[in-house]
Each structure stands twice: as C-alpha cells, then as structure tokens.
Symmetry: C2
Subunit: 448 residues, 2 copies
C-alpha cells in the first residue's frame, strides 16, 4: 500500500489534476492521496495559499475583499470547469471562506483556517474528479483521518496518538483523498503545519498507515547531485539515505525540507520523489541504509548568506570558559550559530546572516569587547558554505583529498574546513563570489 502526495504544481489546474488522476488510476496500491493547494500555473502566477492569506489580512482588518475573493473563486471555478465536476463544490468552498471570515474566533485562528482552505478544497475537487473517472474515492478530512496536532497555530506538531488512529484507516475501502498542511487539536481547533506542510501530512499518513512506500510527486524527475541552476544537466541521484537527504536539504538543496519527511524516516518507510509530468521516470528513492555498492559521495549542496565572527586573544585556550562565554553572549542576543571552529588563540563563529541585525551585531561586539577583552574582533560577511555529502565518507580514504583538489584546480582558497562531527558530510567555507566555480569543480571531480 502506497501513500502518494501531490505538490502544488501537480494540482495547479485541471490539466495537472487529470495527470494526478491517471497516476492514481494506474496503481491500485495508491490508496492514500495527500494534496497541496493549487500552486503556480506559470512563473508569475500566485499560489492559492498566498491568495487566501491576502484575503484573510483584508477580512481581519475589515477592509473590502470582494476583488480578492473573486480571484480565488475564479481559480477554483476554472479547475472545476476544466475537470467537468459538479459546480456545487464551488458554493461549498465560498461558504467555507465566508464562515471563517464571519466566525467569532481569534485572528490567528482565522488565518490558520483560511490558509487551510486551499488544500481542503483541492482534496474535495480531486476526490470528485476521481469519482468521475470511476474510482471509489472519498474526501477525508484530517480530523476524520486522525491527524491530531499541538495547539500552535501556523507551527503545529503532530501528536503521537495520531498514528494509532491513522492505522485504523487501512480498514477503509477505496481511495482516501486527504488535504495536506493541517490537523486538529484534541479540542477540535484547526491548526496548520509550518509552510510546505503538505509534505508533513503525507509523511505522517505514510508512517501512520505503515505504507510500503511514500511517493512524493513534484515537478522534477529526480533529485540531482548538484543544483541544476549551477551545473547544466547534472547527474540524477537514483538512491540516497535519509541522513544524506537531511544534510543535503539543510545546506540549500531545494527539493524539500527534510524535517517534513521525518515521520516517514522514523517509521523507516522508503520515500520516492517522482514527477507528475513524467511518472514513468524512476525518480529518487530515499531509504534508511546505504547500498554498499553505491558511490560514496551522493551530492554537493551549497548556500550563501553566512558571516564569520572572529575573536582572538592571546592564551584564549588557557582561559577556561572563554568559548562558552562567547556562545552565551550570542545566545542571550538570540543569535543561533552554525559552527564554531577554534584555534589556540582564536575562535570563529559562523552565523547565518538572517540571525544578525545591525543592532544585534553592535550589542554582540560591545559585549564581547567588554566581557571577554579580546585582542581583535571582527565580523566578515560574504561567506558561502559548501557541503560534500555521502554516508561512509569518513571512513573512506581520499575524499578530503578529492574535494580539496577540486578547490585548488579552480584556484579557490578554502577559508574554512569543518570535518569530523558529521559522519555524512564535510563542509567548506569560501568567499561567496567563488561559489559557482567551486561547485562546478567539485561536480567535475566527483561525478564526471
């Protein structure tokens, strides 16, 4: 039995939903279907969820929203017409929007409820469409499915009791179409997951029903070993491990956020990333254990937007607590850090730029000066981080050599190397203007 999740581009219009229909019809194992809200049809298009958020902001501030509401209904109407399913569904959708706007709940709860209408309506539409194709499909609300979440609007976490309830769904006949992105608290309040949360729903359902496979349908044929915007037509990844996926997606790999997949990973359900527009392509399998036959390095991820806070002080190494105090100052200014390599008399702290503001920076620098009396202190912007990822690379001889050779051949000096904590990756810090060059050189070294 499989859980298939279809992302925003897979349900962006009627034509796409028809493809979804064939994919579902094609394999009787696809019993649990999770859908996102309709995504963009063309690059400048709006996503349904964004339209709903915009409408909500107006509604909550008692501003007129007729234009926005019409926009939303036009898109649903277009889809319903393309798919030739009963028009009554449109009145239902409009009614549910009005119900939220007229309800007597907090603004935060209104927002969460409005945001969920994209996925919810999409599940209803897909279910109706499947019926017209002769399939025994049912729209199943997350509450009915058993997705119970914490009381944390916009950032809900699944509660463990969900899994037992979801398992009961296995008994039901037919195809269950479940909207992604939200669940209900034990006292029946609707809460959304963090953005991109349809992946989370799919992953929770896959874990709960103990699926043999969780298929995540997107608009790419597979995960690539490197960002295709940097390297033309790069090699595809046919298989990678959960840990590898996590390191890759953490460091700027765009496919999806690894945390969304965690429930499936923890239940050891294999995940397959597939393309709605090319379902015949094998896609990328994400599994728990590395195939010993497969190559050691599976991908190269990169990201910009890092700064280096550098502090030096003679005999720092002898000053018990220096490193701890430095990190504590950052913590007290609510700045989280990525890495903190240290030498005898110096320490660097790598921080994502989004953690810094001019004010926080000033506070931190002043506090370090006053409390730690360093000899020098500086913040250096414009760092990029590159992660070479592969399970088992730590015990393989020569990976560090191959990587550093790639930088040398591209004439790039390495500002930072962090190897030894993660068993799955080595991290290199360079100036950001050299990033593409470095990624290309690493690609050529490991994959050409």
């Amino acid at each position: 039995m499989k859980v298939a999740k279809f992302g925003g581009s897979s349900v962006a219009n009627g034509e796409q939903i028809e493809k979804v229909g064939s994919i579902i019809a094609d394999d009787a194992e696809r019993k649990f279907i999770v859908v996102s809200a309709p995504g963009k049809r063309f690059p400048d298009d709006s996503k349904m969820t964004d339209l709903l958020i915009g409408l909500g902001m107006l509604g909550i501030q008692n501003e007129p929203f007729n234009h926005e509401l019409a926009n939303i209904m036009d898109r649903f109407s277009e889809i319903v017409n393309e798919l030739q399913i009963p028009q009554t569904i449109l009145a239902d959708i409009e009614q549910s929007i009005q119900n939220v706007l007229n309800s007597d709940t907090s603004d935060q709860m209104k927002t969460d409820r409005l945001k969920s209408i994209g996925e919810d309506s999409c599940a209803k539409i897909v279910s109706e469409y499947l019926k017209t194709q002769g399939l025994n499909a049912h729209y199943v609300n997350p509450k009915e499915a058993g997705i119970i979440v914490s009381n944390d609007p916009g950032n809900a976490q699944v509660l463990p009791e969900s899994y037992t309830k979801l398992y009961d769904m296995r008994k039901r006949d037919g195809i269950m179409v479940i909207p992604g992105f939200f669940g209900f608290t034990n006292d029946d309040r609707l809460m959304t997951f963090p953005r991109g949360g349809s992946d989370i729903t799919g992953s929770i359902v896959a874990a709960g029903v103990e699926a043999d496979l969780y298929e995540n349908f997107t608009d790419v044929d597979s995960v690539y070993v490197v960002d295709p915007r940097v390297v033309n037509n790069p090699e595809k990844v046919t298989k990678l491990t959960y840990k590898e996926m996590r390191e890759l997606s953490y460091s700027g790999f765009g496919v999806f956020h690894d945390e969304a997949l965690m429930p499936a990973f923890q239940a050891e359900i294999p995940v397959c990333i597939k393309n709605t527009n090319n379902p015949g392509s094998p896609g990328t399998m994400i599994v728990s254990d590395k195939d010993p036959e497969s190559r050691c390095v599976v991908g190269i991820a990169a990201d910009t937007g890092f700064s280096n806070l550098y502090v030096s002080k003679y005999l720092m190494n002898r000053e018990m607590g220096f490193g701890r105090k430095l990190l504590q100052i950052l913590e007290e200014e609510s700045i989280s850090f990525e890495h903190a390599p240290s030498g005898i008399d110096n320490m660097s702290v790598i921080i994502r730029d989004n953690q810094l503001t001019a004010e926080k920076e000033l506070n931190v620098i002043n506090r370090i000066k006053n409390e730690l009396n360093p000899e020098t202190i500086s913040i250096d912007y414009g760092f990029a981080m590159i992660m070479v990822v592969g399970e088992g690379m730590m015990s393989a001889v020569g990976i560090a050599e191959k990587s550093t050779a790639a930088f040398a051949e591209a004439n790039i000096s390495i500002e930072m190397i962090n190897q030894g904590s993660s068993e799955v990756s080595v991290m290199f810090g360079i100036r950001k203007d050299k990033l593409d060059l470095a990624v290309k050189s690493l690609y050529n070294k490991f994959f050409q």
Copy 2:
C-alpha cells in the same frame, strides 16, 4: 647588544661551561647572560633542580637528608674543580641551602627558594669562571636586576614595572650573569616561574634591556620542520615567525614552550635558537614578520593523547544554546577543551586526555544525558592531532589539497579537519596508531 640564555645541558658540567665561556668571549655583544641549573650529563643523570626538590621534601618533613645534600654538593664540587675556580663558592652554596631549610617560612616558600638554588649557584659559578678567563663578569641577582613578580609560588608572573628597572641595567659595565627561573615580589619574597622558567627569565631580560637579539642556547643545531624521532635527519628551519613557533610548540614541538618567549615576542626582539655544542651553526631565527620569499609551510607538529566526546541529537542545530550548555557542563567539571566542531545534529568536543578522570567522565556523561537529552553520547579515545603550520597558508591555494593528498597516499582516513580559525595552521585528527605514518607522508609532501 645580545641576551644569551644557556639551558641545563649547556651548564651540566665543567666542560660544558667552558664552551659557554668561549661563546661569551667570542662576541662582545653578549652582555647579558642567563643560566639554567645544571642539567643531565648523561641520559640517566638527575637534573640539579630535581635533586634540590628531593632534598626539600625530606627537609620539610624533618627526614634525614644528608645523603641527598652530599649528592648535590658533589655535583657542584665537580664543576668547581673542573673549572678551577675558588672553592669558597661551595661553602656559600651549602650555607644557602642550610639557610632555607632552617628558615622560619612556609613550606611552599621553602620549596621555591630551594628550587632556585640550582640556577642561582650556576650563575655564581659561571660568573667566577668568566672572571678566570679575563672577562669583566658579574653575578647579578634577579632582585638586583629588577625582575619583579607576582606572589604566586611556582607559577609567578612577571610584573610590568620590571621592564623599566631592567632597562637601567644597560648602563652597567661588563657582562651580567643572571640566574634564570625566579624573581622577587615587591615585598622581597622569592618566587619561581613555571618549570622551564629560565627561558622566561631570558625573554624578560631581552625585552627589558631592549636587546637586538635573544640567543637561546640549547643542545640542538636548530628547530626541525618535523620531529627528528619520526623522520630521519629532517630539514632544518632557518627562520620562522613568532606565530608559527607558537602553533608548533603548542602542538607538541619539543624545542621549548612558546609562552616562555612571549615577553621577547611582544617587544619584537628576534630570537635565535643555537647549539652550545656547535655555535658555528646558524641556528633558527624566530622573527615577527614572514619573509615573503620563504616557503609557506614551515613545520609539521603532532601530538597524541586526545579524546573525542561525541553527542548527537536530532534538530540540535535548532536548539538555541545546545552548544553553550554542553561547553558549560565541561567547564563546571573543570575540563578545558581544544576544539568543538559541530554538524547539523551533532557536536564533537576534542579534549586532552589529561583533562579527564574516570570520575569526571562519568559526571559529564550523566549530566549531558540528563540535561541535554541527546540521542547518542560517546567518548572515543586514542586520537592524535597533526598541525600543518605556516603563516599565509590560508590565502595560498592548494595547501589543503597537498595535506589531504599526503594522508590519502599513506592510506590514512582523516577523522577530523579544523581549518579556518587560525590563519597559521590546519589541524587534522587521525587515529593515534597512524601518527608516524601520517607525519612522514606530510613531510615527504611538503619538504622533499
């Protein structure tokens, strides 16, 4: 004007002191002479300072010490006879030992005063010997010289006012022979420096008198680029910078402790390491600025005795303060750490084994388990660290490649790389049983 310091092996017996005499006579610029206590004459010999410490322990506990005192006096007597200087100096020395043992001071102060007698007597002997060679030499007590220190027996620190007093010594005629290893507090109490402290005295005097050169005479021709016990007849270092020396000596380079040289470094006095037994050899110069013509990597240092405390926890990276709390637990158990590389979900802390006891280890592990709820925690012993040192290597392309290639060629997997904080070194962690192999391979790569 030069300050010349002679170490224990240079004053171990009469024959050695004669060499010291010729060296001093050979260059009229050698005006300030600092001496250690007599060192070992042969591998199983005792150092004078250790004999004095042994004597002190007996004396303080009111145990008989005649045998030990006789031993000490025999060694001094042998030197005095070899050098044919007046025997009266021996009665002086014995009297000063008895004075300390009979004095009414604390045990700690007695120990410090006894320890200092090795250097003090040696300075008197050398000064007398130089006079017999027709030189205008004077024994100068550290108090008279102006070496004023903190009230910290066995671990005294020089006080800044020393430097002005020392500068006045320039006016004096002749050759000043100053015992190393101790100074006096402002209220006249004798305090010794940390062990090896004659280097400290030499360095303080060099800084105080603003010497053109601080010559540090030992029993090796120069600093070598790598430990000669690991690589046969390795290349000599003709010149290196203060920073390079600091990194090298920190990481197991045996020549001497860099902190001892700090006063000279801070005053930008060049230091020359020379061999009493081969004074014609140019030795190794330690200077403030890198010669741009010289090669980038100057040396490879290595040390064993490290452990890796490894902690992993899913989403550690998101948990503000995790790293700080981990370091705080170590700090509260009085464990200092060397490096702390971190990944997304894990953190390693490299600790010198001498920081750990079975009890501390248990405390730390239990506290981390209870306070931080990690998924895994382990301590892995048997790490060795290798430091490739050279100022300017960070901006040079290809140093990391060359280093990692050396490991790959020796078929050694690199457990850890720390680059990016220090501008002067890259650190590699490997299993300790591979250390010699790795050092040899790096030597071949960089120096052959």
